[in-house]
């Protein structure tokens, strides 16, 4: 968190030295844009809070350590798409899933969809990209995640 504020502060001071009017305009525009998008952020947070509750760790482990790798991969992609979590929770969780016997292919589907596909963040994404582009982006991301998972399966010798 510190580097980004240090950077912001340095740039802000530099901007102030160069042109006070322009800097005031920049800060005003920042405030305006923030106010404009704050409601979408709030609804995203509500969705995220509910999604995090709906997908607890125990359910995850149960679903992802299945006999059928393919089925588990599909589950993993679905769960990864609907849930949102910060990296510092997600990757340790992936480590736990590995430890509980989930194949690399399944962990890959989970982590990549987690990062790229956002059902809970969709309201926010829609207000920036529009519904159609947001849908297309998420669809393409899901496809990419599945391809990455299958190739990961081959590389780690989990798929014949």
């Amino acid at each position: 968190m510190v580097p980004i504020y240090a950077l912001t502060l340095v740039l802000l001071v530099a901007s102030l030295c160069a042109d006070v009017d322009k800097t005031v305009k920049a800060v005003k525009s920042a405030g305006k844009q923030f106010a404009r998008i704050a409601p979408a952020f709030l609804s995203m947070l509500v969705c995220v809070a509910i999604a995090l509750y709906a997908v607890p760790e125990s359910l995850l482990t149960q679903l992802l350590a299945r006999e059928s790798k393919w089925l588990a991969t599909v589950f993993a992609a679905a769960i990864g798409s609907v849930s949102v979590m910060p990296g510092f929770i997600a990757f340790p969780l992936c480590g736990i899933l590995r430890g509980n016997g989930a194949p690399y292919m399944v962990v890959s589907a989970f982590s990549t969809t987690l990062m790229m596909v956002g059902v809970a963040t969709f309201p926010l994404e829609r207000s920036y990209l529009g519904t159609r582009l947001a849908l297309a982006r998420n669809g393409a991301s899901l496809g990419i995640a599945l391809i990455v998972a299958v190739i990961t399966g081959f590389v780690f010798g989990e798929l014949p």
């Binding site: 968190m1 980004i4 504020y5 912001t8 740039l11 802000l12 901007s15 322009k22 800097t23 920049a26 800060v27 005003k28 525009s29 920042a30 844009q33 923030f34 404009r36 409601p39 952020f41 709030l42 609804s43 947070l45 509500v46 995220v48 809070a49 509910i50 995090l52 509750y53 910060p86 990296g87 510092f88 990757f91 340790p92 992936c94 480590g95 690399y104 890959s108 982590s111 990062m115 790229m116 956002g118 963040t121 926010l124 994404e125 207000s127 920036y128 990209l129 529009g130 159609r132 582009l133 297309a136 982006r137 393409a140 991301s141 496809g143 990419i144 391809i147 990455v148 190739i151 590389v155």
Partner: protein, 182 residues
Amino acid sequence: MSYLRQNRLALGLAAGFLLFVGASRLGGFAPGRDMGGHFVSFLRDMLRVLPAVFILIGLFDVWVKRQTVEKHLGHGAGLVSYLWALLLAGTAVGGLHVAFPIAYALHVKGARLGVVLAYLAGAAICRVPMTLFEASFLGWRFTVVRFAVSLPLVVLTSALLGAWFERRGYRLPALEDAHGAP
């Protein structure tokens, strides 16, 4: 007043949710309490980053010339523009939700849609600190495979989607009138 009216759906949802959480705390309803806890912790995380991000966007708006962005990330900037987008994304903070306003600002300044999509994908999957974290839990081989497979696919699908939407005259939603240029 018009602000409240325009956003009544989102604000109503948030207000309803907070009422539910408050009632859950009073009534000792565990699921509601847990959701409230997640909500607060996420809100805190976001409020920590977002002010800086929006001020950076504001400065970017005011200082960076449209021609500069157009030249490097716009139409006719070629494949290198995807490299720029991914490098820029590699240094991004926060997840996708922080990347959306930045991507939008880039597009308003003349970055073409494909490059904007590549930036978003990059912010999702190849942020540097996150990658180090991933590798330490799942091993470098896993991370290398993920990068090697996903990056070409990201550039390909971003370029295709961007071209497809632009050819059909797609416009991003108009967000604010603070910008000089539409």
